[in-house]
């Protein structure tokens, strides 16, 4: 190609191109004095061309080809500019050609992006659920603070096995055992979610600490967006599990309660057949009917509970109190199965208050056995009482025999 087609043919044409350039262009001599600048440079500096010609701008000194500088306007405002410098000549002497590009908006946009990202991270870090993001190969590419805290508190202080850059598929294989069923299920689940065969994958697993029983749910969902990947979360469901167990416990007690109530009603009916003067059982709630008796029963039950617990910790410990005695005491005051449940729940609640979680669990377990035993004693008491009534001379029931 002819050079005249590629390059401006004269100085005037060149100056026209420079003048029309959107980037600021300044030529400074070896003292840093402005020898030439285009209108864009004057605008970016917030001054007039004539005011700047012959002024000192400064001799550019920068590490690489470009540097960021702050430009100051006479009104105190400032702009961020990218400065590029090349050696040139001006009027036959060595000079520097400086180009300035306003990147204030670019920097603002970057800052806004950083702020938005910081905001997103603040949200992720506010979650108590442990979160990690994996790429399509299972590599951990991001984790939240809960994830890090849990790792640090559970044998990985440097996040060497669960931090960013670690392959989580490999970690799962090793953690659960290469050939273990659970390990295979987890890896299959993750791959199924990654390949879109499953919308999500969940697995509940135990992760007990030395002094605490813990349960977690591993949940895997696909990473939304353009990049394929997975979001893995671990949620501590110990409390949820405890509540479920408590609910199951309550259901079981209610079932036993109905059973005992039926039995006691039967005993009651048969007792009244014996003597019309006897007042029926279950004539109101014990707590309201005989508050002192209820309080005494409560104290008695708490002692039984504490003794059971002590026996659990020290099998040699001899239990002094007898649940049968409490059963008879309650029977003597016409207590119902519902009263026994109330005594049990109030005692466990009082004993568990402010107790560590392990002890609360122990109260619950020991209480479960104790309440059933106590109901048994109460039922035996009523049965025995009925038998006595039946065997008394003149009993209508015995006479019918």
């Amino acid at each position: 190609m002819d050079d005249s087609l590629r390059y401006p043919t004269d100085d005037f044409q060149l100056r026209e191109i420079v003048a029309a350039n959107a980037d600021g262009i300044i030529v400074v001599d070896s003292d840093g004095l402005v020898r030439f600048l285009n209108p864009a440079a004057a605008e970016i500096l917030g001054r007039r061309v004539d005011d700047l010609i012959g002024q000192i701008f400064g001799f550019p000194v920068l590490r690489g080809e470009r540097a960021e500088i702050d430009l100051l306007h006479p009104d105190g405002a400032s702009q961020v500019a990218e400065m590029r410098v090349v050696d040139t000549e001006w009027d036959g002497t060595p000079a520097q050609l400086i180009s300035l590009r306003d990147i204030t908006e670019h920097r603002r946009a970057q800052q806004a992006l950083r702020d938005a990202e910081a905001f997103n991270w603040a949200i992720l870090n506010s979650l108590t659920v442990h979160l990690a993001v994996l790429d399509a190969n299972g590599m951990i590419i991001a984790v939240n603070e809960s994830w890090c805290d849990f790792a640090r508190a559970n044998g990985d202080p440097e996040l060497r096995y669960t931090g960013v850059g670690v392959n989580y598929f490999t970690v799962c294989q090793h953690a659960m055992g290469l050939d273990s069923e659970e390990g295979t299920i987890t890896l299959d689940g993750m791959r199924a979610v990654l390949e879109g065969r499953l919308a999500s994958f969940e697995l509940e697993y135990p992760c007990h600490a030395p002094h605490e029983e813990r349960w977690f749910v591993l949940r895997v969902v696909p990473l939304r967006g353009t990049r394929p990947g997975l979001v893995v979360s671990h949620t501590n469901v110990t409390e949820h599990r405890r509540l479920s167990e408590a609910a199951a416990e309550a259901r079981m007690l209610r079932a036993r309660l109905s059973e005992f109530e039926r039995e006691l009603r039967d005993v009651d009916v048969r007792s009244r057949e014996r003597s019309q003067n006897k007042r029926p059982l279950a004539g109101g709630v014990l707590r309201q009917r005989l508050p002192d008796v209820f309080r005494h029963a409560l104290t008695f039950y708490k002692q039984l509970l504490e003794e059971s617990l002590r026996h659990r910790a020290q099998p040699d410990y001899a239990i002094e109190q007898d649940p049968r005695e409490l059963g008879e005491y309650l029977g003597n005051h016409d207590a119902t199965a519902r009263d026994v449940i109330e005594v049990h729940l109030a005692s466990v609640r009082a004993a568990s208050a402010n107790a560590p979680q392990v002890k609360q669990q122990a109260y619950l377990e020991e209480g479960r056995l104790l309440v059933l035993e106590l109901m048994g004693h109460l039922a035996s008491y009523y049965r025995a009482r009925l038998m006595t009534l039946l065997n008394e001379p003149g009993s209508p029931v015995s006479e019918q025999r």
Partner: protein
């Protein structure tokens, strides 16, 4: 630099706030004063143009970081990140480099 070694060196660094850019320039110059210019009495003054805009305007500071070697005369003004090797920085300021 030609002529006798200076008895004192006065450097004025103009920065806009304490941005990472400003901090890097300050660190570069402190290092220069402590190492390459250790044998001279070196006076480094940092002027924040956001805190003292009048002084910036009086000295017609157009951009930051700007470094002015006020003494020994003649004054010399340079602009940029100043992130060049010490010998180049000293040469740009017309100051002696002893090759320490």
């Amino acid at each position: 630099m030609n002529g006798p070694a200076p008895s004192k060196i006065v450097l004025h660094l103009y920065v806009a706030g304490r941005s990472p850019r400003a901090e890097r320039a300050i660190a570069t110059l402190r290092r220069l004063c402590e190492r390459e210019l250790a044998r001279y009495e070196c006076d480094l003054v940092i002027i924040d143009v956001l805190a003292d805009p009048q002084q910036a305007e009086a000295r017609k500071i157009l951009a930051t970081p700007t470094l002015i070697k006020e003494f020994p005369e003649p004054p010399r003004r340079i602009i940029g990140d100043l992130g060049v090797p010490p010998e180049e920085l000293l040469a740009a300021l017309n100051l002696p480099y002893d090759g320490l």
